[in-house]
Subunit: 452 residues, 2 copies
């Protein structure tokens, strides 16, 4: 399906691996590791059969959650290292992949406008990356809490709980972005040491105004952490497809998280956290008092809360970025296609009689709902749910959407014409993060209409 | 090298995947994802070339740290799911691999003697698994701290810091195991709500007496958490190769962590945490108030601190356990081989003139040092380091050992005959976790002798 010959490159990776291992001399494989080929075959067949119980995340007919397969380069890179199984916790455990991790983190730092002296590393997920950013925030402001918008990912509230610091949800405006006046009122209390700002919220893809939040936060001596787990890579479109200000401000914020396993074409298990000031590495200190945090020779385990980590994740990202670098014309083109798809679908929906946009898409997430008669929250809720279910269960030509829950108040701010006969409603939500969605839109839209 | 035809099964997995994806109909791959084959080839060649900068973890001549490659079944299972990229955070994101995760966690629970009503999940690492166990410990005993032996993994002290609870290191006995009298003294203060016990310490592989610790802890109303990240799978040898008591007691402890990416033949990115009482799931509650923690239909994200997690890790473990189940004759045979290797090497070293055992191995870690003349800490330190370096850098027939640092006091408790002219010394340390080490021992030992 993909334009890259995965089988060829996987076999190439395997052949190269075997060539390397043969150089160390042969030895007798131990009988305890042997597997009967018939048993292997039947077990694998069962695995493959069970894996069919997945939605086709790879196909443009899947326009639901934030899910897509990794790029073939990521798969080949991951496999190449997984065969060796390096541990990026320590240089001893993975010298090659530790070096690659430093290189890709440096690439990410450049993308975000951080200087050479940043500190950062890959993590197993955005949640752990955000935990580390808030851990450092607590270390710097032990008596002050963390503010985040009520549309921020729920992990911030949870991780504040884990860290034992106070979390302050901030109200959002009519487009689901942190309300600056509400933030300032909160900052005036002096209780907030760090503000989390999200350029690209999980539910709506709303771009919170990083630049304006930064201005306010700095007036109150608060740090700013950017949760770009979902939206971070859209920085590549700043100044072309997207207004540059929020993205350019990231370079002046104190920390940033981005998930290569979302828009970076990687398999799950690849988040990243970066700090603008490398001296925060001191908070990670444990029993390695001789560490130099800006040295190339540091162990990544000395600046990370996680211990064992797959070097394979670094290899997958490294190989991918060799083919699709962090430029507007490289990986940026993949994000631009999803963004164009969202914009065009929004315009198609806007002209439709049967569907209504819930909110204008800011990135690649489109939210919409059936225009029911009567037009009430309860009717919209039922119709959205029915469209999703019917599309998913269609024996022929299924499509896969997702739903998001909008509160009564959020609905009223956008669609006062919808009768408020319930405390909210589900609306349809599609993440168009596969570039193929761009060419598939007309088919997708026609199919949604046919389900009404 | 291995007795399993990896190339065959990888291609089979790929072919099965392509068959499944074709059923959803063809679509045009997007130009932004294409990669020029010449560029792919050169980038992959560079990756493979750089990956040569790894020690040969796969070969029995590598007898250093806790590192080995995954079993071919783990690789094939991981790849099979990685191609789809399911997210085990939510049922929507990975129904098949979420079901597999529940099955393998249930297998682990059975191995540890937990009942059907346990609660558990895979994690990206042992550190995150231990963080979750201590998070639950804090929730149950918010005003009391955590005790762990001074030989416990340093992550416990760090995670206590992250969680903002007090950590209490407990002195060890002459074999590097938690001292029961010291523990009881500490428990008497009432400051400890949870005791971490480690059956298989990272440095020495010492088996802390889980059963005796449990007895003491229960007298003081303290919980017991078992850190089996390294040692947990040795439970399979309880009653055959190992005295059963510490392992059988795990089933009565409150929580246990084990890392399938260590002795479970998995690639990095696969830890696990299990709780005996499923009702601790209430501490994970966030915005899913309708969760039933013992239901099969729960989302794994509702009982986990991590959000996105690779479903591929569950698939890899699931396929491996189909071929090598959690029995004495299944995976147990792999651990038994490493254990036999350690025991036999210890006896060879004991009879040697040139080497001395630092401590009798309890699991599969052997610690030893050159018998220098004069026999002093400084001479032992220098000789250990030299043997490791010379072995590793030998142009022909290299071997790869590691060193561990022993304090002056720890040395004196074991070897009062060694002149204490320094505050400690490095000793050689070998983790014999590959079953092939068993057959390779004589070669390995002769090679070590030749380096003295």
């Amino acid at each position: 399906m993909c334009a890259v010959d995965l089988q060829h490159w996987l076999n190439e990776a395997l052949a190269n691996h075997e060539k390397w291992t043969a150089e160390y001399g042969s030895f007798t494989p131990h009988s305890s590791l042997q597997a009967d080929p018939a048993l292997f075959g039947s077990a694998l067949a069962e695995l493959q059969d069970r894996l069919r119980d997945n939605y086709p995340f790879f196909h443009p007919r899947y326009a639901g959650q934030m899910l897509k397969p990794p790029h073939p380069a990521a798969v080949v890179g991951y496999l190449s290292a997984m065969l060796i199984n390096p541990n990026n916790h320590a240089l001893d455990g993975g010298p090659a992949t530790a070096a690659m991790e430093r290189e890709v983190v440096s690439d990410l730092a450049t993308m975000f406008g951080y200087g050479e002296q940043h500190l950062g590393h890959l993590t197993s997920s955005g949640t752990i990356a955000n935990l580390e950013a808030l851990f450092v925030a607590r270390s710097l402001h032990p008596t002050r809490g963390v503010a985040y918008s009520s549309e921020a990912h729920y992990t911030h509230s949870r991780m504040c709980g884990v860290l034992g610091i106070e979390g302050f949800p901030v109200a959002v405006d009519g487009l689901g972005r942190m309300d600056l006046d509400a933030l300032e009122e909160l900052l005036k209390t002096g209780k907030v040491g760090t503000v989390v700002v999200t350029p690209g919220t999980t539910a709506l893809g709303a771009i919170e105004p990083v630049n304006l939040v930064l201005d306010v936060a700095r007036r109150y001596d608060a740090r700013v952490h950017v949760d770009g787990a979902y939206g971070g890579f859209f920085t590549l479109l700043a100044g072309t497809d997207l207004a540059p200000e929020p993205w350019e401000a990231i370079g002046s914020c104190d920390s940033v998280v981005v998930d290569p396993h979302k828009h970076g074409l990687q398999p799950y298990g690849c988040g990243a956290v970066l700090f603008r000031d490398p001296s925060v590495g001191r908070f990670y200190l444990h029993d390695s008092p001789y560490t130099y945090f800006t040295s190339d020779e540091m162990h990544l385990g000395e600046i990370s809360l996680e211990c064992s980590r797959a070097g394979a994740a670094a290899a997958g990202l490294w190989l991918t970025l060799r083919l699709l670098p962090l430029t507007r014309d490289g990986l940026g083109e993949v994000l631009a296609a999803g963004r164009r798809a969202a914009v065009r679908w929004a315009s198609i929906i806007r002209e439709s009689e049967a569907l209504e946009l819930y909110q204008e898409p800011e990135l690649d997430i489109v939210t919409y709902f059936p225009r029911t008669d009567p037009l009430t929250l309860s009717a919209v809720d039922a119709a959205s749910h029915r469209v999703m279910q019917t599309g998913m269960n269609a024996p022929v030509d299924p499509i896969f959407l997702s739903v998001a829950r909008a509160s009564k108040g959020a609905f009223a701010a956008r669609h006062p014409e919808v009768g408020a006969d319930a405390d909210g409603a589900r609306v349809l939500r599609s993440v168009l993060m596969k570039p193929e969605s761009e060419d598939y839109l007309d088919t997708l839209h026609a199919r949604v209409l046919s389900l009404l």
